[in-house]
């Protein structure tokens, strides 16, 4: 033990002490632990610590066994509905670590010297002399550089360094292309068929029943030889999917309240809206058939699909854009135009002319 030089009893005799309501009684006398005074207790603690370390070693061994025993990949071993490999590896690894930690802490608590020590603080500020010496050095340095006497040099330096900010900004210009009018158009074109998402089959108007919800997509995203749309994949496909996704529902025609100029946008009660929420752009398809409400799972904006997707609840400010529908010769649903307003969340360049109901169907 190396604590013999520590002060046993420190009285708080600082300057303010006399003003305190009660005088500082000073550090209490050190009290020994059973492990300090009782060799038996000491031995016991020593054994405890060693056992904890031993258990850790055992857990590590079990970890290695688990690693080589339990299968992953094609055929995970499972038990009680859990993947064995992960549970066994995590359990044994965790136990190995926890036992080491507990052992070390037990060692520190029971066996390491636990005499409290006192250290005096120093003020955070540097001493007066140091401060003056530093200021003097700084002064001398500035003086010798002559920066104060030569404003021409100083100002031209500041100006040229400041200008270096420009390349730093300009260099980032090619991070991406400019928006242009990309946000204002989608892949939808007049006479493009609506298809079911995932499977890509066209939708016959007569197949849809009242209460049906179809998560749809533009046919151009499911090109086949038959429909003749060009191949689309990767980035382009994702971007078009992100804007072109739609939901199609069939509502009892007399429950439908079409917006001004949208009287003929439905096909016998079949209406189609953008699936992209006008709030921050989550796909939205939590549809209630009896109320005709559709809810966004991200921030709970609720739209009434029977009433031009008017916002009836939540943080969204605009209705979902509606796609004017028609049927082709074979009875399949088609779009009669692109969306007449940008789909998805608002952005600075979005023109107010494009707001919701005011869009006139030009078809």
């Amino acid at each position: 033990m190396s604590d013999q030089h520590l002060p046993e009893h420190v009285s708080g005799d600082d300057a303010g002490s006399d003003l305190e309501p009660i005088r500082d009684p000073g550090l209490p006398e050190h009290q020994w632990r059973p492990t300090d005074v009782d060799p038996k207790a000491e031995k016991r603690a020593e054994r405890q610590v060693a056992i904890l370390f031993g258990l850790s070693a055992l857990s590590t061994f079990l970890f290695l066994v688990s690693y080589f025993t339990f299968k992953v990949g094609d055929e995970w071993d499972s038990s009680l509905g859990l993947g064995v490999s992960n549970v066994a590896l995590g359990g044994t690894f965790g136990a190995a670590l926890l036992f080491i930690g507990a052992g070390i802490i037990q060692w520190a608590r029971k066996l390491m010297a636990d005499h409290e020590m006192v250290e005096m603080r120093h003020p955070a500020a540097s001493s007066e002399e140091d401060r003056e010496a530093t200021l003097a050095a700084l002064q001398a340095g500035l003086e010798e550089s002559g920066i104060a006497r030569r404003p021409l040099i100083r100002n031209s330096l500041i100006g040229s360094v400041a200008l270096l900010g420009a390349p730093a900004v300009v260099l980032l210009r090619d991070l991406g292309p400019l928006p242009g009018d990309k946000l204002k158009h989608t892949v939808w074109k007049p006479n493009m068929r609506l298809v079911r998402d995932v499977v890509g089959t066209p939708i016959k108007a007569s197949d849809i029943e009242i209460g049906d919800l179809i998560n749809g997509a533009p046919e151009a995203l499911f090109p086949t030889e038959e429909n003749g749309y060009p191949e689309i994949e990767g980035v382009e496909l994702q971007a078009e999917k992100a804007k072109g996704a739609i939901i199609v529902v069939r509502i009892e025609p007399d429950e439908l309240q079409p917006g001004r100029g949208r009287e003929n946008w439905d096909v016998d009660g079949i209406v189609c809206y953008s699936k992209i929420c006008t709030h921050v752009g989550c796909p939205i398809s939590l549809y209630e058939r009896t109320t005709h409400h559709v809810l966004c799972p991200c921030h709970q904006s609720t739209f009434d699909l029977a009433d031009s997707a008017r916002v009836i609840f939540g943080p969204a400010a605009r209705p979902l854009p509606q796609l004017p529908l028609g049927v082709d010769d074979e009875g399949y649903l088609i779009a009669r135009s692109d969306f007449l307003e940008p789909v998805g969340p608002s952005f600075w360049e979005r023109d107010s002319k494009d707001i919701g109901n005011q869009g006139e169907a030009d078809v």
Partner: protein, 570 residues
């Protein structure tokens, strides 16, 4: 050890000591010292004193979970491919075989299913990230409630706030990397957030995504931010945070022998090092057990990101929950001006509010010292009750945070409590304004009544639970004085000093009017300390003691007890 001077003194006898052959460790230490001067550098620090209290270890949870993050993160980088290139999955997980997906998602599946221990490391990394941010916040609350942010530690508070901000961003960039349905939905929402920024929003979005959302640039860009940029900043700031901690020395609770001038505790070597080192293994172990037993972010169930799909319960990780809650309860307000759109419903809650909250957070120490006019150094901690306004301010902020946080989980609350999402949302719209005010008032009064309770204990002793009957037949509870050290600990705090604006008197003796800002400061300061219970003076305590002695000798005196309790009220 090369600095063990006690050995020198012992062997310094009449005859010259012969140099013993140094052992191997000694010679290595000597070799290093001759080149690095370790002896001088470590002379003080090896036995540097750290005070012991459970609440001082909260920051360590953050430190150690950061270490776990570095270790498990490096493991993950060995397999993870930060690419959005499209591949067709042919791996081990049946239900997604044959599905086109990004390489990032395919490699996440590979780590989860084909690398032994890979899923464990993924889950540990994710749990550790949750713990990292959570422990930073718990640590922050401890520091604030005990006044440990006061001079000279304000800058360390600011560094800590930056760490919290960066930790949150690091978490967001991290959970976005697997490119699964949930994280993709989060990125898409983030795209919406960016687009809501007036004037530059659309450009920011196009530059970040390398074109139109989702593009193929976002995952590689987030990856380099996640594994290099932010961790580098975090490491630097953590180092600065720790250096300042060592330089200032840790704060301590007041008590007998523990003053503003000293620090009492255990030396770094061996006790503190052992406890801290042991705690590292504990935190590591907890993360491992959680990673082993508790599923987190089962990306295979979400499937690859597809902009047309979404899942119920689409939420960010918990630390992004509160701005998401603000987003949920914000009414849908949008302005249309001259062909432009400003989406207040997005811009205010998700861009302005978090920025504002972090600014307020970082400014708290400066705000308080400006109001109180307190420019002294503080190394003794204050109990939360002894700074009622400060405590109440943080509880109000916590209430604001907590309500928004709950609003961020309104759908889950709705299912679990069979409540209506709409009702919860309407409730929250009001509660986020009323709740913090109520919390402030209640906390402040609560603190003050706890202060009164302390004063009672100090002057009239503690309640023994012994009921005494007086000769007149009245009943009363017997009080006994508390111990000397307990009494000292209760009084070891600062007197509150209200800031009074100085009136400058010019040479003619005319007082210049107090500046408007200065007057405000004086008023705020008075409000800050209003109704606080000041500690009794030495005379009051002496008087109370005499009274006690009298009481213990002469039995119970009802009138005296009544009088003294009345005097407390004054």
């Amino acid at each position: 050890m090369s600095i063990d001077t006690s050995k020198v003194a012992e062997s310094n006898r009449s005859s010259a000591a012969t140099a013993a052959k140094p052992n191997r460790a000694g010679s290595v230490a000597l070799w290093a010292d001759e080149r690095l001067g370790l002896g001088t550098a470590m002379k003080k620090n090896l036995r540097k004193v750290f005070p012991d209290h459970w609440s001082f270890m909260l920051g360590e949870i953050a430190l150690w979970s950061f270490v776990v993050l570095l270790l498990s993160g490096v493991f993950l980088t060995l397999w993870f491919k930060p690419s959005m290139g499209e591949v067709t999955y042919q791996g081990s997980y049946d239900a997604l075989r044959g599905i086109p997906m990004s390489e990032a998602f395919a490699s996440s599946l590979h780590i989860s299913f084909d690398v032994r221990g890979g899923l464990l490391m993924r889950q540990m990394h994710h749990w550790a990230a949750m713990l990292f941010v959570a422990s930073m916040m718990v640590h922050l609350l401890r520091v604030y409630f005990t006044g440990a942010f006061r001079k000279p530690r304000e800058l360390n508070w600011v560094i800590g706030s930056l760490l919290l901000l960066l930790g949150t961003l690091e978490g967001f960039t991290g959970y976005s990397l697997p490119d699964d349905l949930l994280s993709g939905t989060g990125i898409r929402a983030a795209d919406g957030f960016m687009k809501s920024i007036p004037v530059v929003g659309t450009y920011l979005s196009f530059f970040l995504f390398g074109g139109e959302f989702p593009g193929d640039a976002i995952i590689p860009r987030l990856y380099i931010i996640h594994v290099l940029l932010i961790p580098g900043l975090l490491l630097g700031l953590i180092a600065a945070h720790m250096l300042l901690l060592v330089y200032h020395k840790h704060t301590q609770w007041p008590g007998p022998g523990r003053t503003e001038q000293n620090v009492v505790g255990y030396p770094m070597l061996p006790v503190y090092a052992a406890k801290a080192g042991g705690f590292f293994f504990i935190v590591f172990g907890i993360t491992a057990v959680m990673g082993g037993l508790l599923t987190i972010n089962p990306v295979w169930k979400f499937g690859p990101y597809d902009p047309t799909k979404v899942t119920a319960g689409s939420q960010p990780d918990w630390y992004m929950g509160w701005p998401d809650g603000a987003l949920r309860i914000m009414p849908g307000i949008e302005s249309h001006l001259f062909g432009h759109t400003i989406a207040w419903n997005v811009f205010l809650p998700i861009i302005v509010l978090p920025g504002l909250m972090f600014t307020i957070l970082a400014a708290l120490p400066f705000l308080e010292s400006w109001i109180t006019g307190d420019k002294r150094e503080h190394h003794l901690l204050e109990r939360p009750r002894n700074a009622p306004t400060r405590t109440a301010l943080m509880v109000a902020l916590m209430t604001f945070y907590g309500l928004l946080w709950a609003a961020g989980g309104n759908d889950i609350i709705a299912i679990k409590l069979h409540a209506s999402i709409n009702a919860i949302t309407y409730f929250m719209r009001v509660a986020v304004f009323v709740g913090p005010l109520l919390a402030f008032a209640i906390t402040r009064r609560w603190c003050i009544s706890l202060q009164r309770h302390d004063e009672q204990k100090l002057l009239h002793g503690y309640e023994t639970g012994i009921i005494m009957r007086s000769a007149e037949g009245g009943y009363s509870e017997r009080h006994l004085p508390i111990s000397e050290s307990a009494a000292y600990t209760l009084t070891a705090r600062d007197d509150d000093e209200v800031y009074v604006p100085e009136t400058k008197v010019d040479e003619n003796g005319v007082a210049a009017p107090v500046g408007r800002l200065d007057a405000l400061r004086g008023k705020l300061s008075a409000l800050w300390f209003a109704d606080n219970v000041q500690r009794p003076t030495r005379d009051e305590i002496e008087e109370a003691r005499h009274h006690f002695e009298h009481e213990l000798e002469g039995g119970h005196d009802e009138h005296a007890a009544l009088e003294s309790s009345e005097s407390v009220k004054h």
